[in-house]
Symmetry: C2
Subunit: 349 residues, 2 copies
Amino acid sequence: MIEIQKTTESKIDKTNFDNLAFGQVFSDHMMECDYKDGSWQKPIIRPYGPLSLEPSARVFHYGQAVFEGMKAYKDKDDRIWLFRPEQNFERINKSSARMAIPEFPKEYFFEALEELLKLDKDWIKKGFGNSLYLRPFVIATESGVSASAAKEYKFMIICSPAQAYYSGEVRVKFSEKYSRAADGGVGFAKAAGNYGAQFYPTNLAKEEGFQQIIWTDANSHEYLEEAGTMNIFFRIGNKLVTAPTNDRILDGVTRKSVLKLAEENNIEVEVRRVSVQEIVEAARKGELKEMFGSGTATVINPIAGFGYKEQKFELPNMDDSYASFFKDTLMKIQYNETEDLYNWTYEVK
Amino acid sequence: MIEIQKTTESKIDKTNFDNLAFGQVFSDHMMECDYKDGSWQKPIIRPYGPLSLEPSARVFHYGQAVFEGMKAYKDKDDRIWLFRPEQNFERINKSSARMAIPEFPKEYFFEALEELLKLDKDWIKKGFGNSLYLRPFVIATESGVSASAAKEYKFMIICSPAQAYYSGEVRVKFSEKYSRAADGGVGFAKAAGNYGAQFYPTNLAKEEGFQQIIWTDANSHEYLEEAGTMNIFFRIGNKLVTAPTNDRILDGVTRKSVLKLAEENNIEVEVRRVSVQEIVEAARKGELKEMFGSGTATVINPIAGFGYKEQKFELPNMDDSYASFFKDTLMKIQYNETEDLYNWTYEVK
Ligand SMILES: Cc1ncc(COP(=O)(O)O)c(C=O)c1O
Ligand SMILES: Cc1ncc(COP(=O)(O)O)c(C=O)c1O
């Protein structure tokens, strides 16, 4: 049903898979589907290449744009797997609804993903940590500089080969002044503007020696919410604590999966507001054993230390870290190296 | 200094200037200036036309995009005027800084505006209410789907002929649930994502019979802040009241000018927090004489009524309305029909 225009010139031989910067190289094909006259038109897969848009296209002026991030994995037998893709599908439509963008049909989403992955299967490399990062996104293409929802959109999927993500030791700063999202705002959506808004405060934190910010609630800056592209977990003693999702926090697929794995593995979890004060005190008393982020790009990202106001705290190195346990368990499921007890994997065949 | 490529085929004869929808038609030329290798390159003016961008351009994914809105006016002697353009220049750079976009050089901004307006001067029609709407904007063009500030940008100016803006009677809804901006966020910036985020709640308000939302503070929804593209004024008795600007509210050029005119014309003004409760009570007691919005597109937009929770209030029709006074006074200055006491006008010659 999807129209496919194959590339005549694959770029794969020119691609160095041993030295990939995240999100810089794209595979041979992409999916494109236009919304006009009140409905999504026929999707098309064509060679990855530039778009032509009017300078008055609404995406440039009013930020009507949402995206998703997911990965395709190849197992030892060359079978291709996605991880909980229906979660990404539901989430992009939730993001779209909040940004007044029409929702995308489920069958188009899955058919497009499958066709694209079959075409570009050689771009998915085997081996723990290798994957093809998939970026579905929607932009408002209609021309017009008046502030109202567009009547024309483009849904696209582009694919970027990725290696295991190692960003060096990560130290985070707890935000005291800047914030990421308002109550009643769009923080729960993967809306493009949420990300651009974080770059400046994050750059300031980088100057102080931190790699990322842990955002706090905009009202009081007393409660820890999430990082720029990760949800965040704290291990106090042997208990795992994380903030509940709300309209300011992205409902992460990895977060959800960690919570399920914790429950199944008898790790005590509390999903509740986490105050800055509690974490600072736990760190002082030596009870804060770990902090880690969860997200599709990094899976689980251990955090080595944090800063709050003028204070800096270092976290211990744990032998039996929860971070390693979750990362390992999740990756084994993602790469089909273990039994899929929760029906999380989705084979592309 | 600016390179100019003139169009060979003007669209002006095909344009119906008596029937212009706002922001739909664009003049013959546009300005484009690229940022790369750490600096803004030479600006170029060329025929208005499409852009070619990678689907991985950061503006599509992370919403690094800011804009301005200003107008050029033609007086009876065919002289061309801008209104306080240095305010827009300073504001776009403030917006850019918050969105981690490099600031644009002042000489490029003014030279580009002047050259563009001289080239497209026939697109500026005489007559009160007619103007050429100018849309400077900046977008992150660098390719890459990793969440960090781009290293390449495009600054553009596009121009759209506009007639007097009459949107019919405007009734507004005071927001109880949704919000526009967080403390410590980007509400004060003309960042693209701030606008897309308003469309969904505004659509809900439209279904209830309102044309716009007056945003309240995200923390308590008790204080009135601004509308989607206008600052907001209340007249209680003969006193004018408006919210102070802060990091959630756009510092409007029209607002600033209204405040100055009020002061100069002995209209009592209070710039302070305005509670929903106060306005509802003033309306009940018949003391709320007027509400109006201020912004470049509409100049001054009288508001006919408002809704809060289940209640609806209608405002009286005033003979000696402040809204008409400010609109008339401002427009006479903008069209060079009166003395420019405050040095607000800027001639393009
Ligand atoms: C703001 C934010 N929080 C958390 C996450 C983690 O979500 P997920 O685990 O679904 O990738 C992401 C990335 O997708 C994100 O952008
Ligand atoms: C959010 C917002 N508030 C207020 C205004 C009014 O500002 P100005 O008077 O500078 O046009 C605008 C429009 O520019 C706006 O976008």
